[in-house]
Symmetry: C2
Subunit: 298 residues, 2 copies
Amino acid sequence: MTLPVIDLPQISKAATPDLVFKAVRDALIAHAEDRTAVPPPMVLDFPASSGDCHVKAGYVEGSPYYTVKIASTFAAVNNGLMLVVDATNGTPAALLADEGKLTAWRTAAAGALITDAMTPPDVDEVAVLGTAEQALLQVLWLRHLRPLRRVKVWGRRPEAVDKLCAAFAQEGLDARPDALDGAACVITTTSARSPLPVEAFRDAVHITGIGTDMPGKGELPPEVFAGAVIATDDHDQCLDHGDYGNAVRAGVVPANADLAVGAVLRDGIDRTRRSVADLTGIGATDAAVAAAVVAVLR
Amino acid sequence: MTLPVIDLPQISKAATPDLVFKAVRDALIAHAEDRTAVPPPMVLDFPASSGDCHVKAGYVEGSPYYTVKIASTFAAVNNGLMLVVDATNGTPAALLADEGKLTAWRTAAAGALITDAMTPPDVDEVAVLGTAEQALLQVLWLRHLRPLRRVKVWGRRPEAVDKLCAAFAQEGLDARPDALDGAACVITTTSARSPLPVEAFRDAVHITGIGTDMPGKGELPPEVFAGAVIATDDHDQCLDHGDYGNAVRAGVVPANADLAVGAVLRDGIDRTRRSVADLTGIGATDAAVAAAVVAVLR
């Protein structure tokens, strides 16, 4: 048996934004309709080398493939592989040596899709909190879906803020380091373990949080959930370790106040109301993107 | 990045019984001493194609690698892959396209090690229940550890029993289809969901059960646990879905009656007492065997 190992240059060529957006959107809607299989992720910790490994499996009903993703982080460097397996006979179809990029892109696409779907159409200014890869990608992928006039950047390290502003400028965006001034649309992308400064959310009509992906993390001040339309990518997972769960445990909102992200994408919502989207990441989106890439390349 | 994909012929050459026995023994002892990381396995079901997929991750402290195993079964055919990842930086080291064989061998080695350790030294007759791959392997690997004079085989389908007897005969063993007559050492390797005939265990001084690897399965009549020295490969996992858990729920034994398989291998036991070993399979043994194979091949 030989197994095609598909490297990042090949994957990048196949995984166009159109392909990723379509795969992620379909997977999120399928997930909302209970047409996916997503077992709880596995986590391995390597304290001696400041590392951890997350293993996520996913399947969208009717897809020719299921996927097992191994994403590891060591000393803040991400790595990743996706094994794509034939869902009719268990034969491995391909290994995507994507170096974690497919996860980054599906996270960006999921965030951009729900941010766009819940933010009033005329909003063209976003504030982004955090300065790592997703801070850049959430905004750039959102720009595929709507025009953006200005980006405000907030982070704890000024040099990282400046670097991100320069990266946005290179993409032709007007970016400035003053996110705590607020914006109508706020995207949080940090690995914070306690809530970010509440003033950053003062003017928000929509908030998307994508950084809270494991127990112990939390970006959003619980009070931002009060009175908002709430969307979660997975109800149980967001209750367990998302910002939504933190807000429920803080007594700010009940445990049944959320809509499914996929249902919002499918049906739309009243965008005159303030809204919050909590994304913890689901294996069905990995599976959908990986399957779409393999289908293109085969 | 290129990733070595190691195929079954290469793996078979590296994974000698000596290597597998040593890796599995060390991993079971490490597991008993809480020096392993083994998150709960993930399961994906594919009812439309009579398939399922089990994903197990494992790490033995101090090993250069951790392992993620994807084992799937479709229409009773097993498949499998092991991804071996550098445990200091998360870089994938190799993909073992082992077609499920490393799992088969580590299961055989774990069973043979504990069967040998708990069965009185003079016993040279075993009864094996079940007729699939592990029925053959449990006996052949046990023969690496002690001489065997006779094998009795029991199964529901006479033609499968005859075929297994012929396979044993080809290996020079005196095999006959009469396992319900009993034997001093009984090994169960079925996927039974209700207890096997109790008369098969009448003369047993030692029983090893390796088939009960998920909720809903159960091979051993609960009463065989009464008064026996009990060893489990993982206390929580065997309580959750092993034969030991079934016996505890039946009220036959308390939930703290078991020794760790690794502790028995390390320290030995009084082999004049009747004993039962319940193996549900642990990811640390996968990791140890895969790491040892990669270490030999690199």
